[in-house]
């Protein structure tokens, strides 16, 4: 393909200071890097859910499937099954991935479908103007919980490790270079790559200072060690004060859904022949 402007003319409507800008640039740079490495942008498909994150489908000038709330993964799974040569990337919000579409997230990890899932985890519903999400801290005062939430958040990294994801990482929207590496690593990973991105919501949950003081990069960490990955994932529970590790927690190789679906034997494409053969068995 010819060099393409990777940004569409669509007017960007994210709030000033929104963490989505960083994710967009990281994605754009990743796509450019892939292109240099021989992966044509024609073969990329971006699948988004519904929410602020999902505007990525309008802003990036690549193939896209702007889905409905919570439903990125079934669409992405089918697109990858339909044509394994495509590179399929999902952008989902925390409401998408962890509330409305949690079942699909667990199953995508279980199947090890070869796609990359980027969760824009701002820990608040932005587009619906500020309600708590599954990863909001205990006591979060949102419009639906004016007295503060009375339930603990869950830890998406632990959940993904338990579900069988073969690439589990966490990034931060104020660390773009590192985030870019995590996304590129996820796309290059053969299997289900999950990246939880702590994303600043400038309007409803600006946790910049909180994160800036606590984040650190995982170094000298053995990404093949499942036990260690779980321990590191549990270090911060998305509620209490603790150091917050960024980077790849876990990465292993396991057969992908696509590999397991490869037919064992040659299959016929003659429809009339198949119909006649099946009917012949029924008399």
């Amino acid at each position: 393909m010819t060099a393409r402007n990777l940004i569409t003319p669509a007017q960007n409507t994210w709030c000033p200071g929104c963490g989505n800008f960083t994710i967009q640039f990281a994605l754009k740079n990743t796509i450019a890097a892939l292109e240099k490495g021989g992966v044509s942008s024609d073969s990329l498909v971006l699948v988004t859910g519904i929410g602020c994150h999902a505007k990525m489908a309008d802003y990036l000038n690549i193939n896209s499937f702007y889905s409905i709330h919570g439903r990125t993964l079934p669409a992405a799974t089918a697109i990858k099954m339909a044509d394994p040569s495509l590179t399929v990337i999902c952008c989902a919000g925390d409401g998408d991935a962890y509330a409305e579409g949690l079942d699909h997230l667990v199953f995508a990890a279980k199947r090890n479908v070869d796609i990359t899932m980027i969760v824009h985890n701002n820990r608040v519903y932005g587009l619906t103007t500020g309600q708590y999400t599954p990863t909001s801290p205990l006591g979060f005062r949102g419009k639906s919980t004016p007295g503060g939430t009375r339930e603990d958040p869950f830890n998406p990294l632990e959940l993904m490790l338990a579900s069988g994801a073969t690439y589990v990482a966490r990034g931060y929207s104020r660390k773009m270079a590192e985030l870019q590496q995590l996304i590129l690593g996820g796309i290059r990973h053969r299997g289900f790559a999950f990246i939880d991105v702590l994303q600043i919501c400038a309007s409803y949950f600006n946790a910049s200072d909180y994160y800036d003081q606590r984040v650190y990069n995982l170094e000298g960490h053995d990404i093949l060690d499942f036990g260690l990955a779980c321990a590191k994932a549990r270090e911060w529970d998305y509620s209490m004060d603790a150091p917050i590790a960024l980077g790849t927690f876990y990465q292993v190789s396991r057969p992908t859904l696509g590999e397991r679906l490869q037919p064992q034997k040659e299959r016929s494409t003659d429809r009339e022949g198949a119909i006649a053969r099946i009917l012949a068995r029924k008399s």
Binding site: S67, T77, A78, A82, A274
Partner: protein, 550 residues
């Protein structure tokens, strides 16, 4: 008409469905056309199952209330179905479990002697039945060899014991016609989908379409087809849309409860203009209802499911020939017009078995998809005179293909601008008209029986089989709208021209077809409803129609 009816009953796990199929195949071998109704509760073991096999010289699609033979593997078969028996009925039974007059064979003793497993008990009764019906042993052997994949020799030995223990009571004369395949409605749908060019079938198990999932999964073992069973019906529908985006012609199958979960995806199919075929097998509702029984109470649900306004095809075939044809047409029309297509069927059709004559089922040839031209200028929702935008699938060279559940512009980018919203609504409107036009040339309304009679029986879906015979019995005109959206109002009015008395038959309480007709100013004079999940037996509907005609 020369015909025979056989009731086979036992507890769940006795293999009553397969025993019924064997009886059907024996009759098929004698040159009869067959139909089988299978009645079972929602459980795996225990409970009472029964099948009614009917064989006749002409094509049939309903069972009778009175039977000529009973094969009883439990006492319930006699106790619960006394009204189905006459003085002439020949009863063949397991003398260990059942007290009766007729031909008794001791199932446990024979199975023990032949070292055969309990499930082979029905082979013993089938052998005895064949002898009682005057069939030569060769017929039994031929049918067993064709139909029994496992432990054939042992099954034959057990059947021979039954054959030898019985004597001829009521001979079924050979009908002399050539044999036909005996298939279920689900199988007819599956084959029709294949004929229409299906690439993928996605479903979560739910009666009465689970067997369609099994059938497609079997086909996918040897044929180029994706069959997949994901986590739930929400995932099913969204997967279908993902497949469609990537150019794979896809169908999903479910019943009302699963379809509830699919409606958000159905609405997205409408907005994003992604083709999908939905096989919606009705059962007795509301809610879980009677999972293994039939009904026609989801017509309005199928017509209106999903938020917003968008064109859709809804077709309700009434027998395997129509099911094959409309399954194929549903795939073609969904893709040509980029709309969701719903094949509205029910338990009676899905799980009933019928003689199927492929040669009689002509599928009208449809036009193909409208392909796009790759390049930077491509817009997935580019406006067109007929409202149908040219299609491309990723990867296409130098082309960005964007589908969107939001209001969007011609390139698929989100917009809330009033002029563009109006443009897209107008485009969907023209697509609605285009779909109606495409459908207009098809057999949307089926007319049979006494075409000039002023007395009309109006039916839809699986009651076609029983209504055909009832119309024949009384000399009525039979009118069956098959396509229900876009509604063929003019064609139906013509089909009803000159009618003085129109009787509608529906398996629901509120008269859903009648409500739809009323919207188009078409009135019925009388109505016959049934909503207990059981299909009408021939004698039952004759009695009900007879009352109305008086």
């Amino acid at each position: 008409m020369n015909e025979v009816s056989v009731l086979i009953g036992g507890k769940a796990g006795d293999g009553i469905n397969s025993a019924g199929m064997m009886v059907a195949h024996l009759c098929n071998r004698l040159g009869y056309r067959v139909y089988m109704y299978f009645d079972y509760p929602s459980l795996i073991k225990g409970g009472h199952n029964f099948a009614v096999v009917r064989a006749a010289e002409e094509e049939i699609g309903t069972h009778r209330r009175k039977v000529d033979f009973v094969l009883a593997l439990n006492q319930d078969t006699l106790a619960l179905h006394q009204e189905m028996m006459t003085g002439e009925t020949v009863v063949i039974f397991d003398s260990y479990r059942v007290r009766a007059e007729g031909i008794g064979v001791h199932v446990p003793d024979v199975l023990k002697e032949e070292q055969a497993p309990p499930v082979m008990g029905n082979s013993l009764l089938i052998g005895a039945f064949a002898r009682a019906a005057g069939m030569p042993w060769q017929v039994v052997e031929d049918v067993f060899r064709r139909q029994i994949p496992k432990a054939l020799e042992q099954n034959l030995k057990v059947a021979r014991r039954g054959f030898d223990a019985a004597s001829e009571r009521r001979a079924i004369p050979p009908a002399g016609r050539s044999m036909l395949p005996v298939i279920s409605g689900n199988e007819a749908i599956g084959l029709g989908l294949l004929h229409g060019g299906l690439d993928a079938y996605v479903a979560y198990p739910m009666t009465p379409t689970s067997n369609l999932l099994h059938f497609m999964a079997e086909i996918a073992e040897e044929h180029q087809l994706i069959a997949y069973h994901p986590e739930n019906e929400i995932g099913v529908m969204i997967m279908a849309l993902g497949f469609a985006y990537a150019g794979k012609k896809t169908a999903v199958g479910t019943s009302g409860g699963g379809f509830c979960l699919m409606t958000e995806g159905l609405s997205m199919a409408g907005m994003a203009e992604l083709p999908v075929v939905v096989v919606l097998g009705q059962r007795t509702g509301p809610s879980t209802g009677l999972p293994t029984y039939s009904g026609q109470s989801d017509l309005h649900f199928a017509l209106h499911a999903g938020q917003g306004e968008f064109p859709r095809l809804v077709a309700a075939p009434g027998d395997p020939a129509q099911a094959f044809a409309w399954a194929s047409l549903a795939v073609s029309l969904a893709w040509r017009c980029q709309v969701p297509a719903i094949l509205l069927v029910d338990k009676t059709l899905c799980e009933g078995f019928y003689s199927y004559d492929r040669d009689k089922a002509e599928v009208p040839q449809m036009g193909g998809i409208f392909p796009g031209t790759p390049g930077p200028g491509y817009g997935r929702y580019q406006d067109a005179e007929n409202g149908v935008s040219p299609l491309l699938f990723p990867p296409s060279p130098d082309t960005v293909i964007k589908v969107n559940s939001y209001g969007h512009d011609e390139r698929g980018i989100t917009t809330e601008q009033a002029s563009l919203v109006n443009l897209m609504a107008a485009k969907r409107g023209r697509k609605t008209a285009f779909l109606a036009n495409e459908v207009a040339g098809l057999p949307t309304v089926n007319i049979e029986g006494a075409r000039n009679s002023e007395r009309v029986l109006l039916a839809w879906g699986s009651t076609l089989g029983v209504c055909r015979e009832v119309a024949g019995h009384f000399g009525l005109r039979l009118v069956q709208p098959v396509c229900l959206s876009p509604f063929p109002a003019d064609t139906l009015r013509k089909a009803l021209a000159g009618a003085k008395k129109t009787i509608i038959v529906e398996e629901n309480a509120l008269g859903q077809l009648e409500m739809l007709l009323a919207r188009h100013g078409i009135r019925a004079d009388a109505r016959i409803h049934r909503c207990d999940g059981r299909p009408f037996a021939l004698e039952e509907l004759i009695a009900r129609v007879g009352e109305v005609l008086q």
